[in-house]
C-alpha cells in the first residue's frame, strides 16, 4: 500500500483556508490505488480539480511517476499548499489556479485520469463560492451546485479512454449523477461511512458510442 502524502505544512495558519486530508480524501486515495491494479495502461495526463492540500495529485504522481500531473484549485492558497505538498513528498507536479479548470481548454479530449473531490456538503446556495475554506466544502442545494457546474466539462476533458473519479455523499443523489451527463457513463465503485457522512466514489468513462465524435 502506498503511503499517504505527508502534509505537515498545513498546520501553519498560512494554510488555514486549505482543506486538510480527511476521510473523503482517504477514500479517493484507496480507490485510486485500486485503479492501478485494475488498469493496464498508465495514464499520460492526469488532472485534478479542487486539489486543496495537493495530497491526491501527489499520490497519483507516486502511483504513475511517468505521468504529467496537473492540479487545479480556485483558491491560490490551496494552489501553493498543493505545490508544497508535492515538494515535501518529492513529487514533481504542475499547479494552476483556476475555476474548475477554465483556461485549460487545450486539455480537452486529452485527460486520461481526471479526479474531483468537490465541495459536496449541502448548504444554502449563497454559501457556495465565497472563497476561503468554505469554498472547499459548500455545495449548495443538495450539495450539487459545484458538481453540476463541472460535470459537462468533465466530459470535455476526458480522452476517449479516459476515466473520471468523483467523490460525494448520499445527499448528492449519486445514482442520479451516474446518468446525468450525456456522453458519460458512471457507476459507484466505492462507498464508506465516515462519521455522519455516507461517502461514495463514482467512476465515469466516456460513452463508447460517442467517443468517435471528437
Amino acid at each position: 500500500m502506498k503511503p499517504t502524502p505527508l502534509t505537515p505544512h498545513l498546520r501553519s495558519t498560512a494554510y488555514s483556508s486549505v482543506y486538510p486530508p480527511a476521510e473523503d480524501t482517504f477514500l479517493l486515495l484507496d480507490v485510486l490505488e485500486e485503479h492501478v491494479t485494475s488498469h493496464v495502461t498508465s495514464p499520460l495526463i492526469c488532472l485534478e480539480i479542487g486539489s486543496g492540500s495537493g495530497a491526491v495529485t501527489t499520490f497519483i504522481k507516486s502511483l504513475y511517476p511517468g505521468a504529467f500531473c496537473l492540479a487545479v484549485d480556485i483558491n491560490p492558497v490551496a494552489s501553493r499548499a498543493t505545490r508544497e505538498t508535492a515538494r515535501l513528498n518529492a513529487q514533481d507536479i504542475d499547479v494552476v489556479c483556476s475555476d474548475l479548470g477554465s483556461g485549460l481548454e487545450m486539455l480537452y479530449g486529452k485527460v486520461d485520469l481526471l479526479v474531483f473531490n468537490p465541495p459536496y456538503v449541502v448548504t444554502e446556495s449563497t454559501e457556495v463560492s465565497n472563497g476561503g475554506i468554505e469554498a472547499s466544502w459548500a455545495g449548495g442545494i443538495d450539495g450539487r451546485e459545484v458538481i453540476d457546474r463541472f460535470l459537462p466539462r468533465a466530459r470535455k476533458f476526458l480522452a476517449p479512454s479516459g476515466v473520471f473519479y468523483l467523490v460525494g455523499v448520499q445527499e448528492n443523489r449519486p445514482e442520479e449523477i451516474c446518468t446525468s451527463v450525456p456522453g458519460l457513463i458512471g457507476c459507484i465503485v466505492a462507498t464508506r461511512k465516515a462519521g455522519r457522512e455516507k461517502l461514495w466514489v463514482i467512476k465515469f468513462t466516456r460513452n463508447k458510442q460517442e467517443s468517435n465524435s471528437s
Partner: protein, 106 residues
C-alpha cells in the same frame, strides 16, 4: 481564449530523469507550434524542428532530449501569460499561473 506568450520570466531549471517513451507519447498531445513558440521565448527552443515529422515513430534521441528539457526541466516561476486574442494577461507567481477571471470578464 488563452494562451500562451510568456514574457519577462524568471525561470528555474531542474534536471529530471529522461524518459523517451513518455516524451514520444506526449508528442501527439502537444500543440507543437505553441510549444516551440514558448520554448523559444524561454531561450530553450534551439534544435527543435519547426514541425514534427508525420512519422509517429519519432526517435531522434537528441531532439527528444531537447524536447524533454524544454517540456519538463524548465519552469516559469515568475512571469506572465498573455492571451493572443484579447491581450489579457495572467500572472505566474511561485510557479503557479493564475487563470481566474474577474467577475466582469466571465
Amino acid at each position: 481564449k488563452i494562451k500562451i506568450l510568456m514574457m519577462e520570466a524568471v525561470v528555474s531549471t531542474q534536471s529530471t530523469g529522461f524518459n523517451p517513451d513518455f516524451i514520444s507519447r506526449m508528442l501527439s498531445r502537444l500543440d507543437w507550434t505553441v510549444f516551440v513558440q514558448s520554448a523559444n521565448l524561454l531561450g530553450v527552443g534551439e534544435g527543435l524542428p519547426d514541425m514534427l515529422p508525420e512519422d509517429q515513430d519519432f526517435d531522434d534521441e537528441d531532439v527528444l532530449k531537447k524536447i524533454h528539457h524544454a517540456l519538463l526541466e524548465v519552469e516559469v516561476i515568475e512571469g506572465e501569460l498573455e492571451c493572443p486574442e484579447t491581450g489579457r494577461k495572467f500572472p505566474i507567481s511561485k510557479g503557479i499561473p493564475d487563470l481566474r477571471l474577474n467577475e466582469d470578464e466571465k
